[in-house]
Symmetry: C2
Subunit: 504 residues, 2 copies
């Protein structure tokens, strides 16, 4: 069937066409089916939607993405033919029946996800079938290889390449900003690709972006690491393990966090940047992906085994995920906190974790006495020095000081209604407050926690400050703080409103 | 956030809005999240997509469906707020973990499907979780009630209301066009709502539409049945069990045929039309939904038990699904075949099945000697007479004769390459040929099978004729026929091309 192109003021992420309902029926095509579009000698596979109003008989509607990808405009006529669904859809269907994937099938599925050949329904089916039926260790190994192979790769000619990642769900978990420069200062290569927040108040990439450019290509990452030993870049700007991002977004829509995907996407990215030794941080808390120590240990064993199979040496750090690691939550507040800790050589939890992981990586890299050495690098100011080199290499200001970092001007402090000991800090509530205040989009927005768990607080002392860039967002964040009760001080009074002020 | 309405030249089936990416981030909203739109005193929940190009900051894009539903145009400004996902999404998520639904949860999910509150991803998740984890008899009972309660209902003040349905997947299965008038002639009420083809060459509604109007409302169905005793209407034109249609379309996209949904949607529709006694036809064949007798019997037990729980008395007919019931496949060809059988009082398989089911329903309805009576009604011409009354009541021509029905003018006959016995007729291949020829859209298109299984065929005798309304569709259908080898004649020669003609 020959059809005239009509462009539509829309942009999708996949090749798709809109056919007149009548034409579609003539071709025996239902919405969701695929057609082959013939354009000169080239052909494209696109998914069909149908319309009775927007597209007339004899027309084919293309959004701007599809029109540009296929190099078509309204002067063009195209020929279309119905085609079968991709093979990978049949492979996914076998999982519904409880069958195990074959290695090649997994490769095809992941490659079709990476190149947007599978649609959202099919991607959802893949994730759900895996989650409900389960994947065994072979299948997790294969999905890891497949994710790795479907994307770009970096390889370094020389040097020990190491890296670390957290499986997420702890706030203010910016240890990598201490680990990366410390490890690099010790002479190892650490090409860290970090993520941006999806539902949290800040990811390491968002926080690093306060100080430097994180949208780096694989070539830029390689060049920087070869020059200064380390980088903290946003993984999403590269094409390393590209199926990963799509799977994560669909998992969010489905409300699922699949352990198989956590393992495979983390390891595929490490393979992609050429790492040999990796430390995986598994924070545990009732509010986190891994709720307790037993679960953490089981998960760690699976992680190490899959790592072994794909040729990575893995260490695991099971860490406390019951409260934010930094006192700060939100991109600029965290960046300021990290820099201040380096400037003042503070002995806080952020530094403790950052150096612990650095020393594990250094030991892997053949460095003796790594624990003492990591501490020495930090205390001598070499961590800060290297961090500034990395910032400069990523196009940031190497003279930056913690006090220079602008944070939100709109502030509201919550004070303790009575004295006591901080009993519980809710990760979920703090996150919700910081996001309501504007984080991660408004870099200066977030929450500063004055007292962490176990600290003593007196009546009227500040326990948390909300930072925002806009009044309406500050108001929204205050509203969330009142509703959520994010910090619990021991005692009987839960909160009070008194003389026009509100106390937690 | 206050936004100016921008209408988009698109039409969706659900309330949805497009926000500028930046505004969405300001509100902490991701694609797929929901917002509440405030319009005066009314409010609507819609799903969010984001765009960096089509929609500017401060604008909100609405497709024509959403704009009309919310009564908005480009002069309007609206206020929006993020809202949580519907509760029903959480209920579905529990199924991922293998939990059983509660009755109220099922009701909420089905009602949210019926009113388009769940999006496609969520609907897919519901279907997949049910399919993989499974539903027990309680849950199938509840989904049946829920489907029934989410839609319109018909009730008849007097009379025995009976009905019959097939679970599908046999071609030319038009027995109901014999059953309905026979049963109605015996004094029972039979308000049959039939389906249109989704992937088959014709549904009973498509075939009936050749003779009369099938797009009837529940009021029209009730009026016609009270007047003439029976009707054959398209179920999709009513709002009976409205979730059903959406579930079926998504099952097609996912390549799933869920038995739980087969049962619940069939029974919910029977409840909806007020039936008390129902015969369910379960065709078995390797190419059908139910592959063998054992499976058929198990499925039948479940069907009967769920029927009992929802207050329906069920009989089951396990029938031969290995070849088309009629020799004709395609709307007009089937309609002609049905009328011809009634006119000539033929003793073919269509009539045999139609009268068998009629007699089962009549027995349920308290009619003695139903078998002999059904045959008597048919042979005396009362079935045909009643059928014409029904056709007239549905706005058709009551003087219609089989020879008046126009069928496709473009024809191609495949002849037997050698003599032998017809061994196998592939339902799938015949269906594909008929669809390629244009069925069900082109009413006159389809396939006529000259010889059914077990019949003797001589060299050069016709074995099937393809009918089409357009040359290019006829060509496509011939191509499919050559590829698929739809009919196998016993012997060694498989096919031949000889002196410019092709023989099967």
């Amino acid at each position: 069937m020959k059809l005239s192109v009509k462009t539509l003021p829309l942009k999708t992420e996949r090749l798709s066409v809109v056919l007149n309902q009548d034409d579609a029926e003539d071709l025996g095509i239902l919405p969701g089916d695929r057609v082959k579009i013939l354009v000169g000698r080239e052909s494209f596979i696109a998914e069909v939607e149908t319309s009775t109003e927007i597209i007339k008989k004899g027309e084919i509607g293309l959004d701007t993405f599809t029109a540009e990808s296929c190099n078509l405009n309204e002067q063009c006529k195209v020929e279309i033919h119905p085609v079968e669904r991709p093979e990978s859809v049949e492979f996914i269907r076998k999982k519904f029946e409880g069958k195990k994937y074959k290695k090649d099938e997994m490769k095809k599925i992941v490659s079709d996800i990476a190149s947007n050949i599978l649609n959202d329904i099919e991607l959802a089916a893949f994730i759900l079938a895996n989650e409900i039926v389960g994947l065994d260790t072979d299948e997790i190994e294969w999905i890891t290889w497949s994710m790795y192979e479907s994307g770009e790769r970096i390889s370094f000619e020389r040097g020990n390449v190491v890296d670390s990642s957290s499986i997420g769900s702890v706030l203010g978990n910016r240890y990598a900003m201490v680990t990366v420069p410390t490890v690099a200062a010790a002479g190892l290569l650490i090409p860290k690709t970090a993520s941006r927040a999806i539902t949290s108040a800040s990811g390491t990439a968002d926080t690093m972006e306060v100080l430097a450019d994180v949208n780096l290509s694989v070539d830029e990452i390689k060049e920087i690491v070869e020059k200064v030993g380390g980088v903290i870049a946003w993984g999403g700007a590269t094409n390393i393990a590209p199926a990963d991002d799509k799977i994560l977004r669909m998992e969010h829509q489905l409300g699922i966090t699949s352990k198989a995907c956590l393992i495979s996407s983390l390891l595929a990215k490490k393979l992609g940047i050429g790492a040999k030794y990796v430390v995986v941080d598994i924070p545990i808390s009732e509010e986190a992906k891994i709720e307790n120590l037993d679960e953490g240990r089981n998960f760690a064993s699976l992680f190490v085994e899959v790592g072994r199979r794909v040729g990575l040496k893995l260490s695991i750090l099971i860490s406390d995920g019951t409260q934010p690691l930094c006192k700060a939550v939100g991109p600029a507040l965290e960046a300021r906190e990290v820099l201040r800790a380096m400037e003042n050589k503070e002995e806080n939890e952020l530094v403790e974790k950052g150096l612990e992981i650095a020393s594990m990586l250094m030991e892997y890299g053949g460095i003796e006495n790594s624990n003492a050495l990591a501490r020495k690098i930090f205390e001598s100011g070499k961590t800060l020095e290297k961090f500034k080199e990395i910032i400069a290499a990523q196009g940031g200001d190497e003279k930056i000081k913690s006090e220079d970092i602008p944070v939100g001007e709109k502030r509201y402090t919550v004070n303790a209604g009575r004295g006591g000991i901080i009993q519980k800090i809710s990760i979920k509530a703090i996150n919700e407050i910081a996001r309501a205040a504007g984080a991660p989009k408004d870099k200066g927005a977030g929450v500063y926690i004055h007292k962490k768990r176990g600290e003593v607080v007196k009546v009227g002392e500040p326990i948390l400050t909300i930072y925002a860039e806009k009044d309406w967002k500050l108001d929204k964040a205050i509203e969330v703080a009142r509703r959520e009760n994010p910090i619990i001080v021991s005692g009987v009074v839960i909160e009070k409103m008194h003389l026009g002020r509100w106390y937690l």
